[in-house]
């Protein structure tokens, strides 16, 4: 199972890589301007978080990712800035969060779907975001926190997922299971 991570510059990109490696995936960290040929044959990929302010018009720094998302056609999971980028790519709106969240947030799952299968409907996760998704047309809401609505989503037609919180950090409960669920989607 080959599941690379496209690195948007998160403090936790390497944690995503380590989690995927622990799940016995063949993974590697790739830059956001990676040529499409290098990722085309992967079974899925994760778009990491990062310091780029998607809600501040900085997505031009990672503009090449639009092409990758467009052409890939297989499962993608975006985390934090990666999730926001996916929303933007499909015509959504991202802006500075009304209430940014750093550290512990309480996640309530609205729709277990594939990503939260076998996981409690409420769990503690850690986030670290300045921006948030305001609109995500074409996406189904999967989970929220009290301060932020779009904490997890799934595309209505494509195997494209995203979380605003970070399942790859040890302080997030059931984080590895969430990645295991995504890897299961990649295996289909």
């Amino acid at each position: 199972m080959r599941v690379p991570v496209i690195d948007l510059g998160s403090q936790w990109t390497h944690r995503i890589w380590r989690t995927l490696r622990d799940l016995e995936c063949d993974s590697e960290i790739m830059p956001p301007d990676v040529p499409f040929a290098k990722i085309a044959d992967a079974d899925g990929f994760v778009l990491s978080g990062g310091a780029v302010r998607i809600g501040g018009g900085e997505d031009s720094k990672i503009a090449k990712c639009h092409g990758i998302v467009e052409k890939f056609g297989k499962p993608i999971m975006g985390v934090c800035a990666g999730q926001q980028f996916l929303a933007l790519h499909f015509g959504g709106k991202v802006a500075p969060a009304k209430m940014p969240e750093y550290g512990n947030v309480e996640i309530t799952v609205a729709e277990p779907d594939d990503l939260f299968a076998g996981i409690p409907r409420k769990f503690a996760a850690w986030a670290s975001h300045n921006d948030e998704i305001k609109e995500a047309p074409g996406f189904e809401l999967l989970a929220s926190s009290p301060a932020c609505r779009w904490h997890a989503f799934k595309h209505e037609k494509k195997p494209i997922y995203g979380t605003l919180f970070h399942p790859e950090v040890v302080h997030t409960q059931h984080g590895e299971e969430i990645y295991a669920n995504f890897v299961r989607v990649c295996r289909r």
């Binding site: 510059g9 403090q11 936790w12 990109t13 390497h14 622990d22 550290g103 512990n104």
Partner: protein, 318 residues
């Protein structure tokens, strides 16, 4: 599948044997990362490895002695270099945390280069682990803080770097150290930053301020360890004291006081990339506060406890 320390050690030993064709130098602080790296490198390179311990003048109370004893336990022959005046004079008048870290990184390299000449070393082995280069930033990744062994390294350096543990986190390094036969009191030591007490003194680093924070750290460490031993709490992942540049008014024996503030920090973590402040029983905090303010009454008249997680804070203050 979880991390396999035995496989890692075998693989890295093989790689090192093949790669390093000359003498190598390693700086060991006596901490988990550099001790593991030194034992690993010694297994691979044998007599070609030269170990150096740099006394930066920013060490904790009794650190040099503890380190020496630990090196012996690990079978490492280590040369002790006193460079405290170099570090102190380099830091004179500097208050910016990033500048401090860069100066310290550069001082370390100057010492290594000097020592490398003596043993004709071509390589510098470092116990760099993942959070060091992640937090140092590069390209698209923001610089959070420049770790002395990565972002603190000067651009011009006459040594080739070997960092066998770059992809590991602290929990994995402890497994590697255990696998290498490092005693448990060494591999379970709490992390201590390479720049030492210099980044636990907010503002300018002077001998006097380092002495204050050194004593406060010693008291905090003793009390946390005693409380854990007595079963009052679990030993935190990291626990220490920070000297704040803020002074506040107090009253000591009916006399007005105007002294510094010490912040006590204790966090729980696994890999140091996220951390929560530890739940410390009030009597433990009380004892720490009492001891610090009594023992250093001329300098410190207020103690606070840091209740911030990472993120948004980092574990250390600078």
């Amino acid at each position: 599948m979880a991390f396999d320390a035995a496989r890692f050690v075998a693989q890295k030993t093989e790689e090192l044997k093949k790669y390093a064709d000359g003498e190598a130098i390693i700086a060991t602080s006596g901490g988990v990362d550099s001790t593991a790296a030194a034992v690993l490198a010694k297994t691979a390179l044998g007599r070609k490895l030269h170990c150096v311990f740099v006394d930066t003048g920013m060490l904790r109370k009794g650190e040099a002695e503890t380190a020496k004893a630990n090196f012996e336990k690990c079978g490492l022959d280590v040369k002790i270099v006193d460079a405290s005046s170099l570090f102190l004079s380099g830091l004179k008048g500097v208050t910016d945390p990033e500048k401090k870290r860069k100066i310290i990184g550069e001082c370390f390299i100057r010492v290594f280069e000097q020592e490398a000449k003596g043993c004709k070393a071509k390589y510098l082995v470092q116990g760099t682990i993942a959070p060091d280069w992640i937090e140092s930033g590069l390209g698209i990744r923001d610089n959070i803080k420049s770790h002395h062994n990565v972002g603190g390294l000067p651009k011009e350096m006459g040594l080739l770097l070997i960092e066998p543990m770059r992809d590991l986190y602290k929990d994995e390094v402890r497994l590697v150290a255990k696998e290498l036969g490092v005693p448990s009191d060494v591999f379970s030591r709490q992390p201590f930053p390479g720049p030492g007490l210099a980044i636990r003194v907010m503002g300018e680093v002077t001998r006097e301020r380092v002495d204050i924070v050194r004593e406060a750290c010693a008291i905090a460490e003793e009390e946390f360890e005693a409380a854990a031993k007595a079963g009052k709490m679990r030993i935190p992942w990291q626990y220490f004291a920070v000297l704040l540049p803020v002074r506040s008014v107090g009253v000591q024996g009916d006399v007005r006081a105007y002294g510094y503030t010490i912040a006590v920090r204790a966090v729980d973590a696994a890999d140091g990339m996220t951390a929560n402040y530890s739940a410390v029983p009030h009597d433990v905090l009380h004892k720490i506060s009492l001891r610090i303010t009594n023992a250093m009454k001329d300098k410190v008249n207020r103690v606070v406890f840091d209740v911030t997680n990472k993120p948004p804070a980092t574990i250390e203050w600078e």
